[in-house]
Symmetry: C2
């Protein structure tokens, strides 16, 4: 077999790069669990009718078929009989559709409010480009309730994701927040003939000029030029605190839905105040609309400073009907963070990397092949105290064994000596000291591979 | 949408059940990393020609196709141009094929010996039955080298997997080990006209009677009745220590390859001696053959006592050519453990479960909705010290809030009191004590959900 080549859109990581993804995933999971979110996994496949419920065939679903779908040796009848389970299945393109289905399927066995996080792969057959992959990992959190979901969960979801993201070794990020009640109420107060129709037009502000959007508001939105101007004035408001409230009030529009929206947005921004800082900001962004019509209140989008070309690296919001079986409705609020979308470009540009390609903190050197048992014993004692350790593959000259450790980024080489006179060498400093495998430990920072960030080192 | 029904062969877990899978996965990962194995992930898809290389179409590969493969609005030309990347892709059916491909693709960037573990899903369109799923999670470890892989890695892989499995909360398990050099050398020494052809016949011993296999050895294997008897005598040998060596010798067969095989198998059994115990045994099983012809030395199979109907729940061995690009060969030795195959039947039978459905160790009760901020503050202080905490969804009567905690299995309810007079209640014992959110901590066993095992409690 000749050397295989990578598949475009299906990123894979080298071992030291994978350290970044593992530690980011572990860190997200830790924060989510501290807040009581249960870690769920759903199957990779869903029935096609589920995947296409919203008519969004543009999601580019990958359809599955069995190679031997129509009959094979042995049990052809049985296979045909349950072939229906396979026909019309596709890979999920996000984690929301499978989660909504899971909630409906298991509603009788779940406790509500149901907080869950889900860190899994999803697949979309779209054209690969930076930050857009055909296979990618996402981290989603959602809170779902039966019938009614109190508003305070919007604040909770914002704070949990903000806290989770702010502890990651990433470039500065912004969690932009808006509220559809606020903007829809404002557009109604302005006198828009169809307030909901204004939303997707304002949403184009990140692609079109203000003038172009103003023209569309008049031509397609049915607004007067003065009304369009007011809508655009609202969209200009941005604040990392509740000062946006006075700015909105200053525009002089009065509407009940607007009031509710302002109150809700202020509560979210306020609730995230403790997370705001130099490397992470929660921003009330009144231009944010998210064209998607299933959001009914709070909407979120996550951006990474300096990587605007990736556009948003996550988002979400409140949907008053995440799922419904006709009798019971399950409202939810949640957010999704694109792990692959964020990390793969940073890793490929060399901004983030792991400082070693193996978990091992220690390599036990081998004087001779006959001493392997002694070396294994040392390694077992270190492992027993939680220190990842490997034993040299062969009894090369010590200089070569040290260089082998160095190439993997292993910080310490252990030399088992005659009569229990062991020594351990920090191969970065060259310092070598006597050591006892039942006592010695590396500095905590050396215990696991570390993620190093070029940007942050500057 | 009406209530969805489960898809046969695609198991999903409820939150408390998922605790079992998460903790087993975490525990496996911890052991693998302590031994220096790097955690890798490969993409879910491989080119079909890779998946079918061994002509094993019986693997029931799931083939992918794009819903909109032939042209869509916008960018049809571009889509068509890179459509080739999608054509002929399928979901991997194990983790070995993708790993072999990954090694070849990245050989220039990897350090050898390359130890990796991989815990991922795989898919096979076979008929679902207990322990056999269409989507399942596996945990694989392998060590791969360039050109030559010293034998001691066989011992290492056996020991690492034995250690990893022996620390899981599972029914007693056996790691059965044999060596193809041993059996092939023995069959040659016996005078079999085609020693390799004897292996798949002996492998039928777990399905057919000894008499039936004896007949096949004569009819298909070309052995005399006396030779067949000797081969079956070898297959009867089983030992948890190196006593098997004398038993093999007692059969009086002499062969050089047999000698090598005996030496290797003895080394593996010896190397695992420290893991052997009441709940985990490493057994030299001279009947074990593994029909697969790419194994060239050590072979492994994992069995779970009392669950023989599942047959093996894992296995592996040494393959002298895991991968090859024509110029360089990459030999490997590895083992795979079927996480879904093992856990799902145990979970479904109620043998294993998590003792709560949420990570939360504490629920902070709410006296009134107005006190939510105080409750949030308490929760944050507990979380800051690593204690998973959630705040009550609403200010119901305390009795109801306690019952809500109980239903989730949360062991402690926190009552923020006036003027900082906080109390915490262990709702299992009913004991309620004064507590400070900056000092109090639950017993370590209550910090995370625990896996409870019915069998082990007996």
């Amino acid at each position: 077999m000749s050397k295989p080549t990578p598949l475009s859109g299906f990123p894979e990581l080298l071992p030291a790069q994978r350290v970044v993804e593992q530690q980011v995933t572990d860190s997200l999971r830790r924060t989510f669990e501290l807040h009581g979110f249960a870690g769920l996994e759903t199957r990779a496949v869903e029935p096609m009718d589920q995947l296409l419920r919203k008519g969004e065939t543009s999601k580019e679903v990958y359809v599955l078929s069995r190679l031997q779908a129509d009959g094979d040796a042995g049990g052809a009848a049985g296979e045909a009989a349950d072939g229906g389970a396979d026909s019309g299945m596709g890979l999920h393109f996000d984690l929301t559709v499978p989660f909504a289905r899971y909630v409906l399927e298991n509603a009788g066995k779940l406790e509500f409010p149901f907080r869950r996080y889900q860190i899994q792969k999803a697949w979309r057959g779209e054209r690969p480009q930076e930050g857009r992959f055909r296979e990618f990992t996402q981290a989603d959190i959602d809170v779902v309730m039966r019938d009614e979901l109190p508003f305070h969960f919007d604040v909770e979801v914002a704070r949990v994701m903000a806290e989770a993201l702010s502890t990651l070794p990433l470039p500065p990020m912004r969690l932009r927040v808006n509220n559809r009640k606020l903007i829809e109420g404002f557009y109604r107060g302005v006198g828009a003939p169809d307030p909901a129709a204004v939303i997707p037009i304002v949403d184009k502000l990140d692609k079109l000029s203000t003038q172009a959007v103003a023209r569309l508001l008049v031509e397609d939105g049915g607004l007067t030029e003065e009304q369009a101007k007011q809508c655009l004035a609202l969209a200009e408001i941005e604040a990392t605190d509740t000062s946006f409230v006075d700015q909105v009030r200053a525009l002089g529009i009065r509407d009940e839905l607007l009031d509710t929206g302002i109150e809700e947005l202020a509560a979210v921004v306020d609730g995230c105040a403790s997370v705001n800082g130099a490397r992470f900001a929660v921003v009330a962004s009144l231009s944010l609309a998210r064209g998607l019509d299933y959001y009914t209140g709070t909407v979120f989008e996550i951006y990474m400073d300096g990587y605007e070309s990736l556009r948003s690296v996550g988002g979400g919001g409140r949907y008053d009907a995440l799922a419904s079986d006709g009798r019971t409705t399950y409202p939810g609020v949640g957010m999704s963070f694109g792990i692959s979308r964020t990390l793969v470009p940073l890793i490929n540009r060399g901004v983030l990397s792991g400082n070693r390609s193996v978990p091992s903190a220690v390599l036990v050197a081998l004087a001779t092949e006959q001493s392997r048992e002694v070396a294994n014993h040392v390694a077992q004692r270190l492992r027993g105290r939680g220190i990842p350790t490997e034993v040299a593959a062969s009894a090369l000259k010590f200089g070569k064994q040290i260089r082998n450790a160095e190439r993997r980024g292993i910080p310490f080489v252990w030399f088992p000596g005659e009569g229990g006179n062991h020594q351990v060498k920090d191969i970065r400093s060259g310092e070598q000291v006597d050591a006892d495998a039942d006592v010695w430990a590396p500095p905590t920072a050396d215990l696991r591979p570390q993620v190093t960030s070029k940007e942050q080192d500057q």
